[in-house]
């Protein structure tokens, strides 16, 4: 094994090999290889995209059509019954509203608290900073699912069970976000802030009007992660609320899936609900596509 690299050395000069690689002189083997590459890519892309196309198509079908033609991308008869039912005759708008409220507050809160803490850990010198940072790393490693019962206990103990506060505030804990902000603040030069300090600006002033505007790329990362994370969150809402007025999209659609609101399978209804709840994150994704596709951090789905 270990000698293969050496033993297959071909007696060619480097320039000859390089010329073979240039595009004009592609040998037929390379063309075949290229076609194979595209064939594989197209097949894979079809597998990845087709489910979503089927989903959208099925949401416009009638129940019978969905059952008998599960694969067709064009409904036999177009029907918007599923959407009418969702918007006019169910709690769906309430779910959507709750998800939106929670997402907005969690995202704003995380942006503010993460950047505050990240800035302090990156730039301010104070006793105990390293301890805080070590604790942050330790906290990051606690898996979320393990926290279901603990979160319920503390929410219950604080008497905030089944309120917006219980839905939003625990989701503000975001050690990974602090970490991202800290790393970013460390990468920008300190000279600018020092100038402002000499001019007499206070710490918060320096942070708010000088450093924060410079941190736009990192803030966008935090916004993307928080938005996606809180919009798609399910388990926290299961343990934090029970009343129907506080049901979010994830919780509501999950209850749809297990058969509430419907007799029979009602796939068009369920798939329409799932499709609508995907739209905001999809829009977010396409707006920030360039950023998401280029960053190393910020791409991890929890």
């Amino acid at each position: 094994m270990s000698t293969t690299v050496r033993s297959r050395v071909r007696p060619r000069t480097p320039s000859q090999r390089l010329r073979n690689l240039s595009r004009e002189q592609l040998p037929s083997r390379a063309i075949a290889g290229r076609s194979l590459l595209y064939a594989i890519l197209i097949v894979l892309a079809t597998i990845y995209v087709a489910p979503f196309l089927v989903q959208v198509a099925t949401s416009f079908k009638t129940d019978g059509d969905a059952a008998s033609n599960p694969m067709s991308l064009i409904p036999q008869t177009w029907s918007t019954a599923a959407y009418e039912r969702l918007f006019l005759n169910s709690d769906f708008p309430v779910w959507f509203q709750n998800s939106a409220i929670v997402t907005v507050f969690v995202t704003l809160g995380r942006v503010f608290f993460n950047s505050l803490a990240g800035y302090a850990l990156a730039r301010l010198h104070f006793r105990g900073r390293n301890v805080i940072f070590a604790l942050l790393i330790a906290v990051m490693s606690v898996p979320g699912v393990v926290l279901l019962i603990p979160k319920f206990l503390v929410i219950n103990q604080l008497g905030i069970y089944d309120t917006y506060v219980a839905m939003v505030v625990p989701l503000l804990t975001d050690a990974a976000g602090v970490f991202i902000m800290k790393n970013f603040f460390e990468s920008i030069p300190a000279s600018v802030e020092e100038q402002a300090r000499i001019d007499g600006a206070g710490t918060f002033r320096v942070f708010w009007s000088i450093v924060l505007p410079m941190a736009r790329p990192a803030l966008v990362t935090i916004i993307i992660l928080s938005f996606q994370g809180s919009w798609n969150e399910l388990s926290h809402f299961i343990v934090a609320t029970q009343s129907s007025e506080l049901t979010t999209l994830t919780k509501g659609v999950a209850s749809l899936a297990s058969g509430q609101l419907s007799q029979g399978t009602q796939y068009p209804l369920k798939l329409a609900a799932a499709a609508i709840m995907t739209i905001p994150v999809a829009v977010m994704f396409f707006i920030f596509q360039k950023r998401i596709m280029n960053t190393t951090d910020g791409a991890v789905k929890e």
């Binding site: 608290f113 393990v146 019962i149 503390v154 020092e194 749809l256 789905k301």
Partner: protein, 364 residues
């Protein structure tokens, strides 16, 4: 990972930093303390108590029961132990299949779309990544439809002449089914008569159920895009020099990948495996939305069992105990894998071929 501590400067422009330092970090510290550290400690107490969900777990009527909750799970001999064993079995098979497949697939996708000359590169990347942004609830609803008795996957298999299984209603283990094809219906007595955590070794070896396999496919579908991005980022950070040098030495594409590129990807590989492992041990949303543990408890996972035990059956101590055991499992697996993938000194035998070639032609 922390930055090297800077030497203290003149205190003139840095006065009052300690106060603002604590002030800036205070909100996050309070939040993490209130909703992470304290809750975990509370749950730890509950796991040692007989709290039944009524009143406060710290009131006088709740008593300390020692390790009772834990021992009921790992040696009680009752239903609790059997359910816990089943959940562990299910999730272990899930991890065993999901983590390697998603890692290989995401690396494969990354290598495919990372070519310099590729038409439609953006489209392919978007297509592969898109499932990752959708919520687990939405994707589970879609999966329930695609893999239903009248669903697209069954139709698709029928096209190629295969009578597909009844995915989410089929509790039979995949390995048992494969053995069944060869006429093996029951296992040897050595396996069926002995058991671990309440279920026989033969049952441990059942493989994931057909229903769980659908979830395995779903996990690979939704996470491969995320990890593909991590691999793409890593591939773009590699310097071309080493690959070029290998090219000059005559290594073909296959050799260049396995012996030059892949070893340089080790840190990313470690990240992907760790994140994959941590994620795969925490299956909850899909089970809650889709099957609630059925059919035949074959999609029960420790995370879901913990929730069900506490919130539905009101056995809070036991539910918390399951959560802590799961925590330990995740930590142990992460450490084990860290040890497995740690940089080791290359043995002399493996080094020998390289030692004989002092900076030969081609390599710069």
């Amino acid at each position: 990972m922390s930055t090297p501590a800077r030497t203290s400067r003149r205190s003139g422009i840095r006065g009052g930093e300690a106060a603002s330092g604590w002030l800036f970090t205070a909100p996050m510290i309070i939040l993490l303390g209130m909703f992470l550290v304290i809750p975990v400690l509370m749950a730890l107490w509950v796991s040692f108590s007989d709290w039944n969900g009524r009143g406060s777990p710290f009131s006088g009527s709740v008593s300390f029961v020692g390790l009772d909750n834990y021992s009921a799970l790992v040696g009680g001999g009752g239903l609790a132990e059997q359910d816990f064993g089943t959940a562990l079995r299910n999730n272990a098979w899930y991890v065993l299949l999901v983590v390697p497949i998603q890692t290989m697939l995401s690396l494969f996708l990354a290598v495919l779309v990372n070519r310099q000359i590729l038409r439609g590169r953006g489209f392919f990347r978007t297509a592969f990544y898109f499932p990752s942004v959708t919520s687990s609830v939405a994707i589970t609803v879609l999966w329930l439809f695609l893999f239903s008795a009248t669903g697209a996957v069954k139709k698709l298999l029928a096209f190629v002449g295969v009578n597909g299984p009844n995915w989410f209603n089929d509790p039979s283990g995949v390995l048992h089914n494969i053995l069944g094809v060869f006429g093996v219906q029951t296992g040897p007595a050595a396996l069926t008569d002995n058991s671990f955590l309440g279920i026989s070794f033969w049952e441990w070896l059942a493989g994931p159920s057909v229903a769980m396999s659908a979830f395995i496919l779903m996990a690979v579908f939704t996470t491969s895009g995320t990890f593909m991005l991590l691999f793409i980022a890593a591939l773009q950070n590699l310097s071309g020099d080493v690959v070029e040098a290998a090219m000059m030495d005559g290594a073909n594409g296959w050799q260049r990948f396995w012996r030059v590129t892949l070893p340089q990807l080790r840190p990313t590989l470690f990240t992907v495996l760790t994140l994959g492992l941590i994620g795969a041990w925490q299956v909850f949303d899909q089970i809650y939305t889709g099957t609630q543990g059925g059919p035949g408890k074959t999609t029960l996972t420790p995370a879901y069992l913990s929730y069900q035990t506490a919130f539905t059956n009101q056995a809070w101590g036991q539910g918390a105990a399951i959560a802590f055991i799961l925590f330990v499992i995740i930590v142990v697996f992460t450490l084990f894998q860290r040890w497995l993938l740690a940089e080791r000194k290359v043995s002399v035998r493996r080094m020998r071929p390289y030692l004989q070639t002092p900076t030969s032609g081609g390599s710069r």
